[in-house]
Subunit: 408 residues, 2 copies
């Protein structure tokens, strides 16, 4: 694994080269416009046959972006006009960020540092007219689960805790639904921890919560040391702006998890994540887009940015030497749409806010067009799964008779 | 939709520009090597941290490629060495081709023309040491289902029909399993039609068949006029070279279909397809790769090439004028691997044979690494689907109480 030096002097450990900000930016800077357009058609699709349109944001949002040095991008998906329904355009925002202070700082300072860092980005979302905003996974803390140290559990808080209160004010102020993924402490069930997304309504009320369904056990993702598989099913939250759900991080590798949110009626599914280049970067644009296509909903994918260095070294097995960081969180937050198109991604290195306007009517339009639900034959798969989960399940295998003849 | 003229003078109707053969070729010809390498890392993944290696094929294979003007590419995926199992390297081939004669020619001439055209490509696979070969969907005929005309049904044949006999000889000659997707006529059930893949063993025997599970009803895909949803489940065929399955065409949009072949133990799933640029090209590299990642198996994706023009005009709705062709079949056949890597694609325009060597041990290595099966919680989804298929299913929706207060 090569170590390369970025322009800002940061060392990244994911084998990536320096000098570019995102795939989109690399290609647009290095290909002739007509070739870039063709590559974009192949890679990102077109939205109903058109290109995505840039949204002009108010100067106040741009000023916040300049002053606080975060990436700010805004694009619009389109949908066909219908005769029987009005358009249901909503603005949706995704925030990605690095942590504010070293992991050696007092915990309360680390946490309030992140609050201070996020405040102007959330303000920018507010003045940009964002209706639904999602933050990154476990946004109040470093992603410390790699260490297996239990002291980081102190960052956990109940669903109505400090971070929720902080966001409730902003939700109310900006008439904005906010999805807040945090490490939850369940006071009513013996102080156990969950990886949870709190859904805060546009009036500042708590609508509900969802707990991460699938927990990784790979590389430095030692999360199963801290919390268990969620017990909240696959809830879809009906907000004034549309029906939303949250597929937290590793759940994006599970097509059944995506499916379940679709069956329950989600129009936008957020995927707040924390993932590193060496392990997942080539999968990152694949899984979210596949889910958007297969389930006819929008997906908002978020990954944190930067490298978080911890005080004590830890190992991840596979004979790798002990190390103090998780690797580079490569950002690259983006939206995918039911028509197979997607937005360019935010930076691989910088904090950012991605705003996208989308007409939620597109979901049903693509259900009608492709007919994936109608042709899905769910009864076949209900039977198969019911059979599969039994210990004596026998796979449907047709063996070449010659094979057994030859081997006997 | 712009019409552009290709270098060979063919008119394509999918809005693509002329002058390149594949995305891979466009990017490698127009980016500096180090940028191309980085783009490849982001787009195609690396295989166990390494680049895919070119396979050197015998001159006799290359000679067939030159003489008969088809694209010939060969690359190798790698896998880790294990202590308890030997490597299980197999060579797998995919063939994509245009039809041989105009659709106005006598049917028997059209069919024998395709046989003659395919023979040297299959020979090339044989001399290249291919162990398992898959042909494209309904390879014996033009993809005439767009027309809704029933006379094309004449191309159908029973599982042990003419095309199977043709391939059985070649399977035996080259010790090669051949997957042959054809329009099947079921003589034992009242002459009905199916979209079927026949699995021919390396001794020339028929191992079994699989019938397409999901039938499209979109655009010019009028296939539901000709045949119904398959009744053969999700069989996995145990051959001497490995366990294979076939997800025919539109089934690639259904994650449950991919899942079912995985649950039954497939190590390679073929996706013989016939699809056109305007409708599906941005989805083409997404769905197959997602399936390979999610189910820890290899996927071989095949699409036919060229534009097939029919005698009588037909419509596809949406107010589009009547037309005589389906659009451009964009080829781009390729392999995807369980580690999220994939091969470059064959040409968008030319007939081709793609050979890939793969160690099937990689499948279980990635099941062990990522743990997707272990963490899948199938029992949760068995329950959900059992509930979903009931007419009185109620989705799990949590409504914002303020919403109903406001609206009352």
């Amino acid at each position: 694994m090569d170590k390369t030096i970025l322009e800002n002097g940061e060392t990244v450990a994911d084998g990536s080269i320096c000098g570019y900000d995102s795939l989109h930016q690399l290609l647009s800077a290095n290909l002739k416009p007509e070739l870039y357009q063709e590559v974009s058609r192949l890679l990102r699709g077109s939205n109903c046959g058109k290109s995505l349109e840039q949204i002009v944001l108010p100067d106040s949002a741009k000023a916040l972006s300049s002053k606080h040095d975060f990436d700010l991008q805004a694009v619009s998906f389109s949908a066909n006009k219908e005769q029987m329904r009005k358009p249901r355009a909503v603005r949706v925002g995704l925030i990605q960020n690095s942590i504010a202070l070293p992991t050696t700082a007092p915990f309360s300072d680390q946490k309030s540092g992140i609050f201070e860092k996020l405040k102007p980005i959330i303000d920018a979302a507010g003045v940009a007219g964002v209706n639904i905003l999602c933050l990154q996974e476990a946004w109040t803390m470093p992603f410390a689960f790699c260490t297996r140290e239990k002291r980081w559990c102190e960052f956990a808080e109940p669903v109505d805790g400090e971070s929720t209160k902080f966001l409730q004010e902003l939700a109310k102020k900006y008439n904005m639904v906010i999805v807040s993924p945090v490490l939850e402490r369940d006071l009513d069930h013996g102080d156990v921890l969950w990886n949870t997304a709190v859904i805060i309504g546009n009036n500042g009320n708590i609508i509900g919560k969802h707990r991460k369904n699938h927990i990784p056990r790979v590389g430095d993702f030692n999360e199963s040391t801290y919390y268990m598989e969620g017990d909240t099913g696959h809830p879809v939250f009906e907000t004034v702006f549309g029906k939303i759900a949250v597929n937290i991080c590793y759940g994006r590798h599970h097509p059944l998890n995506w499916l379940a949110f679709g069956l329950n009626g989600a129009e936008i599914v957020f995927n707040p994540s924390a993932t590193v280049g060496e392990l997942s970067e080539p999968m990152w644009p694949i899984e979210a887009r596949n889910a958007a296509i297969a389930n006819s909903y929008f997906v908002g994918s978020i990954n944190r940015v930067g490298t978080e260095v911890f005080p004590n070294a830890f190992t991840s097995g596979d004979g790798k030497p002990e190390h103090k960081d998780f690797g580079h969180f490569y950002g690259s937050s983006h939206f995918s749409a039911p028509d197979a198109s997607c937005t360019p991604s935010l930076s691989r290195y910088r904090d950012g806010l991605l705003v996208s306007e989308m007409d939620l009517n597109l979901c049903r339009q693509y259900k009608d067009k492709w007919g994936f639900r109608m042709t899905a034959r769910y009864e076949v798969y209900a039977d198969l799964l019911a059979s599969y989960v039994k210990p004596d399940f026998k796979p449907q295998v047709v063996s070449d008779p010659m094979l057994h003849k030859n081997s006997s």
